[in-house]
Subunit: 187 residues, 2 copies
DNA sequence: CGCATTATGGCAAGGTATTGCTGTATCCGG
DNA sequence: CCGGATACAGCAATACCTTGCCATAATGCG
């Protein structure tokens, strides 16, 4: 059964990848058998979803970092600063653990990014008085100013990236990505 | 005008990030004003789209690499091997330039991954006879066997990740991500 | 034919993702 | 009170993302 499944999968991957070859050229084309519910078609579509996620993420970091490069920031620093700029976070700050959960990154990855933005004077890390293990991360005054200055470039980037999307489409994309994030977060 | 736009944006970012704070807890909640077409609501939704893209990508790499870890592979190696296993690519191989375009990664990033999988004996790199600058990248026999063995784990991963998605939803997600990838690829 | 320009791929440097492990702080039960 | 278990954050190692730059190969024009 497992062997038959693998062979079956391989056969349909053959057909899927043939379609993917065409997708490489960014030709707008419907998948051959969308919505028929057969397990093999599901593999096919899933493969495309995850491959596009990979591609889109690579391009987001490349283009997004360019968009905020005048501020000397990267997309990851943008995400950290955005999280800290929220009104619920700006006064009390956030712990490393809270930021990790919010950004879906590992502690060590976050520690590196925080080290960088702290070095740039954009955030401060202070030991919490009530618990000596915890670090409270907050934007500095420079960080807040930098963040505000970044918002115009961020807005321009969003406009350019989603120029062909209707509001309903952008909302659908958000909602589907939200559900995917939840699902992956539980695996 | 630009200043007014920035202040306007900041005000609505305030409201958006308040919603994002709730989203952190993965509570399923509709955006407050989806679809009304106002520029500030667009910033709001765009912000969520890109943040979810960031989160989903982080989790995909984390969970996906675990899914293929028995084969000693990472998600990026999976993507490279998948590209090379396609029938259009398997005999003649692909050049570095073709792989770069397909995966939406930089040459240097790809060179690193290729170096790794070549070291594992999964791919071979040969100079093309007709053009001495070009490298032809192909799966080895071991690479092909490893790829086939990986497909069962890949299928199981897809099933787990998209278990709550209908075929139509998965297809919609693919199509929207496809359009986003195209858009970002042109920026 | 020769030279300037363009194309291809890889080294170098820097930033960010993961897991494994460790030191310090806190909590809870005996 | 004390010790074992748990929580928090950061160092170490590895893998992958970017841009800048360079050596070699190929092309096109005068």
């Amino acid at each position: 059964m497992r062997i038959a499944k693998s062979i079956n999968m391989l056969l349909y991957f053959y057909m899927a990848t043939k379609t993917l070859t065409r997708q490489t050229k960014m030709v707008d084309r419907r998948p051959a058998r969308a919505g028929d519910g057969a397990p093999d078609a599901r593999f096919d579509v899933a493969n495309r979803v995850f491959f596009r996620l990979y591609q889109a993420s690579n391009l987001m970091h490349r283009t997004g970092t360019r968009a905020v490069s005048d501020h000397g920031a990267t997309t990851q620093q943008w995400a950290v600063m955005g999280a800290l700029a929220r009104p619920g976070a700006s006064a009390a700050g956030l712990s490393v653990k809270e930021l990790m959960a919010f950004l879906c990154v590992s502690r060590q990855s976050l520690t590196l990014v925080l080290g960088r933005v702290e070095g740039l004077g954009l955030v401060e890390r202070a030991r919490l008085e009530s618990d000596g293990r915890v670090r409270r991360i907050r934007l500095t005054a420079l960080g807040r100013r930098t963040w505000r200055a970044m918002l115009a470039d961020i807005g321009a980037y969003y406009t350019a990236a989603l120029t062909d999307f209707s509001p309903a489409e952008a909302d659908t994309l958000f909602r589907l990505l939200d559900r995917l994030t939840k699902s992956l977060g539980q695996m």
